[in-house]
Amino acid sequence: MSDTPELPRPELARTVRGKRPQFFATEGVDEVMSMVLVLAQELHAVRERLDTAERVMTRHGIDLAAEIEALQPDEALLRTREQALQDFYGRLFQFSRQRRSELEHKYSDRTYRETLDKVATGDI
């Protein structure tokens, strides 16, 4: 096969002829479900890859799974990890962080429109 000249790779269709139904009454929920499932699919692939990595290491004499279980984090590692975890929460709950800020600062659609007017014709 190696001496066969390489054929141009096609770009196959990734969309479907025909209207996709909207299942949820609220616009956008269908899209979010699709995105969540793609992320879940990817998480599954990554998790399985890690599992594969452990098994390959075992074949080479390193019991990675057992070593992972046996690892005792020292205080420095605990701190590093906790920081990473809290940062992750921050990204995950970015939306509620924004909403809380709006409540605290009394941001609203009205104040936003007022800002537009002020910038356009006001004294700021």
């Binding site: 066969t4 096609p10 196959l12 269709a13 002829r17 025909g18 996709r20 299942f23 499932l37 699919q41």
Partner: protein, 401 residues
């Protein structure tokens, strides 16, 4: 049941990388999960919805009434959206593999040209509109996709995608329907030995190959309207060591001579045709058969004996999976069509060809053990699941002779 059924490898099967295989398995497993854990909730939801409608004096008398009421229910919305999304993930996870594996796949297909049986592809061909109007079962590009110059990609996509869709219930070579019908013939008509067999709407030859395996002396033909499917089917049959002929032809009007086959079969073809095409296909089967020859269509049973809720569940494919003829086909009078075509009325009947999943248990096929096979074969079929418990529905008719 933990479903670890694995498709049998062969040279023209798209070979997934580690992560692609994980994504494909995610889609297959998700389908199983939805059937097992989500689908059963629709029954009590329907009971509640029907009772509420009843209290308002509205009877959900038809599958359309049921759909109208159920569409508003958030649980149904989640079920239907999950099903649709699983279908999208499934196809796209295979598209990734085909694009990446393309040079190898294309070379393997090309290497099989001129081998095995005949491959007949005409210069010009009109693919019927009922196949191209929508991408059936949401397969991106459809059967007759023009996206690849080599014209086999849709076959490769179908080969892997349908295995995942069927969650392996059709066996490692996804030939369960063909095997079921062959077994049915051998059991009920042990003396019937066809010398020429035609499989209409053969796609990649999943169901075609068992006819050659069980009737090795017979000349076996598979026809389909899509060029990429028959080209792939030919390469696949060579790869699997079977000498079967394939041609791009329309089952409504083939190019074969009158009275030239003993057996004309189809598997899940009719529901992908149209109200206009179906009678023509029955007429064509009659024309092609020799006196005493058999027509067997393995497809969806008619709606007439089912309650509206069951009909509604089955009909989800029509509305949510780009299967435009799925519901309407079940309302066709198939017995009447066979009579009109000229078949012997005494011989026209629906019957069940038992699933053959037990046969795979002994074979060298990963994941197919006897306990799982029994569990699948003996289960009570619930509407909305893939694959019946007992077996596949077949319509049989004999040409007078």
């Amino acid at each position: 049941m933990l479903n670890v059924f694995q498709q049998a490898d062969h040279p023209v099967l798209p070979r997934a990388s580690h992560d692609e295989a994980s994504r494909q398995n995610f889609a297959k497993g998700l389908r199983g999960f939805i059937q097992r854990e989500v689908l059963p909730g629709l029954t009590p939801l329907f009971a509640k919805t029907a009772a509420e409608s009843q209290s308002l004096g509205v009877d959900l008398a038809s599958r359309h009434d049921v759909r109208k009421a159920m569409k508003k229910e958030p649980f149904f919305q989640s079920y239907a959206a999950l099903n649709r999304t699983a279908q999208e993930l499934l196809w796209l996870s295979v598209v990734d593999t085909i694009e990446r594996d393309w040079p190898r796949l294309a070379a393997e297909v090309k290497a099989r040209e001129g081998q095995g049986g005949e491959l007949r592809i005409p210069e010009a061909f009109d693919v019927p509109r009922y196949v191209t109007a929508l991408d059936i079962h949401c397969m991106p590009g459809g059967y007759a996709s023009r996206h690849d110059a080599e014209q086999f990609a849709a076959g490769a996509l179908y080969e892997r995608g349908v295995y995942l869709y069927g969650m392996g219930y059709g066996g490692p070579f996804n030939d369960g329907k063909g095997r079921s019908v062959v077994n049915y013939i051998r059991r009920t008509m042990p003396d019937f030995a066809p010398t020429r067999v035609l499989d209409m709407g053969c796609t990649v030859g999943h169901s075609t190959l068992p006819y050659k395996e069980f009737f090795p002396e017979a000349e076996v033909w598979g026809i389909d309207v899509a060029e990429p499917l028959v080209r792939y089917a030919h390469a696949r049959s060579v790869a699997l060591g079977e000498t079967v002929n394939f041609a791009q032809m329309n089952a409504e009007k083939t190019e074969f001579e009158d009275a030239s086959f003993d057996l004309v079969v189809s598997h899940i073809l009719l529901h992908e045709t149209s109200g206009k095409a179906m009678p023509r296909i029955f007429d064509e089967c009659f024309r092609l058969l020799r006196p005493g020859g058999l027509m067997i269509h393995c497809d969806l049973p008619p709606f007439d004996l089912m309650d509206p809720f069951t009909q509604f569940i089955l009909d989800n494919e029509t509305y949510y999976n780009n299967e435009p003829f799925w519901g309407a086909m079940r309302e066709m009078d198939q017995v009447g069509l066979a009579k009109n075509a000229g078949f012997d009325p005494e011989t026209i009947r629906f019957d069940t060809a038992p699933m053959v999943i037990r046969e795979y248990a002994g074979a060298d096929a990963t994941g197919y053990d006897a306990a799982k096979a029994d569990e699948l074969a003996d289960r009570e079929f619930k509407a909305g699941e893939y694959a019946p418990g007992g077996g596949w529905e077949v319509l049989i008719a004999r040409k007078p002779g």
